[in-house]
């Protein structure tokens, strides 16, 4: 049976900062949603359903905040869903919203993801004592550092690669007005001499804690025809999950990530991702995850990802730009980070990415992951409608 083609016709995000003390949670999400509606030249009444996502409720201390946010998001009288798939949630949320359109259940859907980390303390939100289980090793960095070390050992990558990624992403962020970190005086030497937090991960190779929200308007073929700006078309989308911990798990390159990418490429007719994809927004909260995911997503052979980074292939003017927006390394409202990746991929193929636009981007990949590298969500968007 045929699915309805899905188009992204509106994108809105907030200027991401460490603390938005001037707005409530409701004010924050409203701002992003209104910008997405303005971009699509639509009104609240044009929206048939709302799908929102965020990372754990403990981050703001509000249980099931979709209940409280229904009014702010114009959802009263409408269907409202709340997705939660850990760090991948922003991506999963967009995919659940896209399925509502693809299944022809609704015509136009508002999807939004947010985090207002300043309302709470994410470190403690993740560190609640759980009986009989290993604690989360003082935040996410402690969990991921050994896997980065395993990657370095396995591939023989020189220990300078991580700093190259951080330096690149933070420079890209200077071109993105919505990015949280704008480090004007940053040099490669400063990244390399920043304090070591979780060996081998340095301070400047980690993501910040941000307040922010990102929203998109998704619609069907008819809705896209009325769009004032070029739409981005969804050519493929998938989610994959695997258990957190088990003896056969490859933490460096999880099978769920490989399977998820393969599914998206199959749907989108991608046979050579390195050549056929023009820009990638991938979820890189710690710099070393760029070379790791380059391999996991099939852009490089196993053990070769770091060579692309080192050769400058992933620079904004490189042959496969990765995180032209500045990425998670520059902006991390956790629950929204995945949706920002999806939205930035869509901005690229719409030609709306401003100073961080990749010239001639026709196909872009948005990628998100979460949990202990166990949840994956991806979509591939294109400037042309999918061939059916």
């Amino acid at each position: 049976m045929s699915k309805e083609p899905v188009a992204v016709v509106g994108i809105g995000q907030t200027k991401h900062v460490a603390a938005r003390r001037d707005v409530s949670l409701a004010g924050l999400v409203r701002e992003a949603a209104q910008r997405a509606l303005d971009d699509a030249a639509l009104h609240w009444a044009d929206i048939d359903a709302v799908v929102i996502g965020k990372a754990p409720d403990f981050f703001e201390g509000v249980m099931m905040p979709e209940l409280y946010l229904a009014d702010a998001l114009g959802a009263v009288g409408k269907p409202m869903l709340r997705v939660h798939t850990a760090g991948s949630v922003g991506g999963s949320t967009a995919l659940v919203a896209a399925n509502l359109v693809a299944a022809r259940v609704h015509r136009t859907v508002l999807t939004l993801a947010f985090e207002k980390q300043s309302e709470s303390n994410a470190m403690w939100g993740l560190s609640l004592p759980v009986p009989f289980q290993q604690p989360l090793l003082a935040g996410a960095g402690g969990f991921f550092a050994p896997h980065v070390r395993a990657y370095m050992r396995r591939t023989g990558a020189p220990d300078t690669v991580g700093s190259l990624v951080a330096y690149k992403d933070r420079r890209n962020a200077l071109k993105n007005p919505y990015a949280h970190l704008h480090e004007h005086g940053l040099t490669l030497e400063k990244v390399q001499s920043s304090p070591m937090l979780w060996d081998p991960i340095r301070y400047s190779e980690t993501c910040p804690s941000s307040d922010g929200a990102c929203a998109m308007i998704l619609t069907d073929h008819t809705g896209a025809a009325g769009s004032p700006r070029p739409p981005a078309w969804v050519h493929g989308g998938a989610m994959r999950s695997e258990p957190t911990l088990f003896a056969g798990k490859d933490f460096v390159s999880p099978q769920a990530g490989k399977d998820c990418a393969a599914d998206v490429y199959r749907q989108a007719g991608i046979t050579d991702p390195r050549r056929q994809i023009d820009a990638v927004e991938m979820y890189v909260p710690f710099s070393w995850y760029e070379p790791m995911w380059l391999e996991n997503l099939g852009f490089a052979q196993e053990g070769e990802g770091w060579k692309l980074t080192e050769a400058g292939v992933t620079e904004l003017d490189g042959d496969l730009p990765v995180n032209p927006s500045g990425g998670v390394l520059s902006t991390n409202p956790i629950g929204a980070s995945g949706m920002i990746r999806f939205a930035e991929a869509a901005l690229q193929v719409r030609g709306q990415a401003g100073e961080h636009q990749v010239d001639g981007a026709r196909r872009a990949l948005g990628h998100a992951y979460g949990g202990g590298s166990q949840f994956f969500a991806m979509w591939l968007v294109g400037a042309e409608p999918p061939a059916r």
Binding site: D46, F58, M63, M64, V76, P79, N99, R104
Partner: protein
Amino acid sequence: MPEPARAAAREPVRGAARDVAVVAFAQSGHVRDSAATSEVEMLLPVLHDVLAQTGLRARDIDFTCSGSSDYLAGRAFSFTMALDGVGAWPPISESHVEMDGAWALYEAWVKILTGEADTALVYAYGKSSSGDVREVLTRQLDPYYVAPLWPDSVALAALQARALIDAGLTDERRPAGTAARRRGGPVRPPGEYVVAPLRTGDCPPVVDGAAAVVLAAGDTARRLTDRPAWIRGLDHRIEAHSLGVRDLTDSPSTRLAAERAGAFERPVDTAELHAPFASQEVVLRRALKLDGPRGAHVRINPSGGALAANPVMAAGLIRIGEAAARIRRGESDRALAHATSGPCLQQNLVAVLEGDPRPGTGGQPEEGQ
């Protein structure tokens, strides 16, 4: 002042619809305190049971979706461990809603409608014994103006019950009386006041529990079970959060969801209502037009409803499962199932389920796939 539930801007697009059915349902025993078992341990037998009913293994399922809440477990990402119980290896296509499992079923139903999946496993669980659920649920409220006052879930339901009494829609002595009599069971003793006018008999037992459902499309459903419970309509709607702007004696979101699900097109013979408090059943019966002559032949909550067992986050999914199970057993031909979320019935979901006509009942054959 009653708030009119705004209809969506445009009619939903009717495209290539697919027949999707509930083909299996399982639930745990619902116990007061499951301190001796983890969430995964509570869930595992339920997952085994529901898969065994269909003969499917986890790897045969095209899509898996779950519903739960971190706040019950008292820890972030509590659902990640529950996934271990599914056996997600090789990796599976999977998602999670931080909502009652009825909404996980909705997400799975949509996934099957896209054609990307033919089968789906849906599960939900709640271990509210880990904390004081009345206090925990206060964290659902507006975090700036209401939650700091800690109005608990029973107090809010009592406010709703009082509004119903003041409107003359129910009786101070026995908000649950009608419902209990319909069930044919003994009327529960009213008990002591918990928060006036609600007494112990009007309030749900606090229990831990889990449930799971398998969905399948068209011919796959027919292959997996003799009598699939076809989902003829499924819709959900949310209302404003603040109690001050809602008419607590009415549920416009339930009525709108029921309309969109096609519940009023033909009479149902069974209604499984997710009414944790007896007084809320009064609201739902009115919104769903189950009172009066139209409702005379409707069995309401033959399972005992949420007043018999209310495992938070699973109780709504259980309503769909119980309605489907009655159809599959041949005890119902057309059933309505309802799930709710949020304080005083803020968000509501309605599913309409039907069984294929049985031989000798005079029904016309349904259209094929």
